[in-house]
């Protein structure tokens, strides 16, 4: 009996099970009404709204869709870290609360990142294949962002 591989495996399983007890708080800041959402404070055409919802909102809004594996730790901890970081940088649900200067600045950064292909990030798009943007979608999105930026800057 001396050497029992089962023991180590059981210990690992116990640790894994205990990890499940620490579930990070998901969807922080989410409310039914989002008065400061970009779609409330600005007119967002349907196609653009669709792109935002599909490719951006999971990390950049308060309406994150949490897949089943986000409840499995430590994956969920890792995801939540990324999401809160993403929302700190840019939160479309709070867009109206930014000053005009910061709105214009965010829009410029978004357009730059999307054009350069660094948003949505490759690591994210690898799992969420539907988040990928086609060339036309990049154009539609960045053109709209730039037009909005110009109108914000003029105000």
């Amino acid at each position: 009996m001396g050497w029992r591989p089962g023991k180590a495996a059981t210990a690992l399983l116990v640790v894994f099970a205990l990890m499940q007890c620490y579930q990070p708080k998901q969807g922080a800041g989410a409310t039914e009404e989002e008065p400061q959402s970009i779609e409330v404070v600005y007119k967002v055409p349907g196609q653009v709204a669709g792109i935002l919802e599909r490719s951006c909102y999971n990390c950049h809004s308060n309406t994150t869709y949490y897949p089943w594996y986000s409840y499995v730790q430590p994956v969920g901890w890792w995801l939540e870290g990324h999401i809160s970081e993403g929302k700190e940088e840019l939160n479309f649900s709070e867009f109206g609360a930014y000053s005009k200067r910061r709105q214009a600045s965010k829009l410029e950064s978004i357009a730059g990142q999307v054009k350069a292909g660094s948003m949505p990030p490759e690591s994210y798009a690898l799992v969420h294949r539907d988040a990928r943007l086609t060339k036309e979608e990049v154009q539609v999105l960045t053109q709209w962002m730039q037009a909005l930026q110009d109108s914000v800057s003029v105000e």
């Binding site: 099970a17 708080k25 989410a30 039914e32 350069a116």
Partner: protein
């Protein structure tokens, strides 16, 4: 073997019970009130805070006054690093710039202009931070530099500069949208293209 089976059973029970607890949490979190204040209102609150303490501190600080000197010096270092295509140097200067902004006590800014200052500073700090975090991506640093150029222009327009400054303009950057930067001299050293087009641009304004 039996033991292993028992422990597996115990573990799965534990996992299931944990999972259940977590579900309840999620429900209450999603239909509850907002439990996290976003970055923007936080800053606004901070601004309000500093306004509130202004009176109590005025007595101590009225000898010192708000100066853009440190900010401008750090910005000029950043501008120089990017013109030399030195992404690492730019990252270092970005960090210095962020520190210079953090050193400023907003209560020293005159009341009427404080909101303006805080708005410019919040934006500029964000760009300085991004530049400092992207020592291996000069193109990305330059994108932030372009927006920072507008913030710095507004800062100097509103609060002045102790040293002579020029605003230069590069018409080509950002797909022909153009971008401005501040420079200590009249000679053009383009931070958006560096060696590639170092002397592209023209002086638009003097401060």
């Amino acid at each position: 073997m039996k033991n292993t089976i028992y422990s597996l059973l115990a573990i799965s029970l534990l996992t299931i019970s944990c999972g259940k607890k977590e579900n309840n949490n999620v429900e209450s979190a999603s239909d509850g009130l907002p439990n996290e204040i976003s970055a923007a209102p936080k800053e606004a609150a901070a601004a309000k805070d500093s306004t509130g303490t202004a009176d109590s501190q005025k007595a101590e600080v009225n000898t010192a006054s708000f100066s853009t000197k440190g900010i401008i010096a750090a910005y000029l270092k950043l501008q120089d690093a990017l013109a030399r295509d030195d992404a690492k140097g730019a990252a270092g200067a970005g960090k210095t710039l962020l520190n210079e902004f953090n050193k400023i006590d907003a209560t020293m800014v005159e009341d009427k202009k404080r909101a303006d200052y805080l708005d410019i500073a919040a934006d500029a700090k964000e760009h300085a931070e991004h530049i400092s975090h992207n020592a291996s991506d000069i193109a990305h640093q330059r994108e932030h530099m372009a927006v920072l150029g507008r913030d710095m222009t507004d800062l100097v327009t509103a609060f002045g500069s102790e040293t002579k400054l020029y605003q230069a303009h590069c018409p080509m950057y950002n797909g022909g949208k153009g971008a401005v930067w501040l420079s200590a001299g009249r000679n053009i050293r383009n931070p958006y293209y560096g060696e590639e087009m170092l002397t592209c641009g023209s002086i638009k304004k003097e401060f």
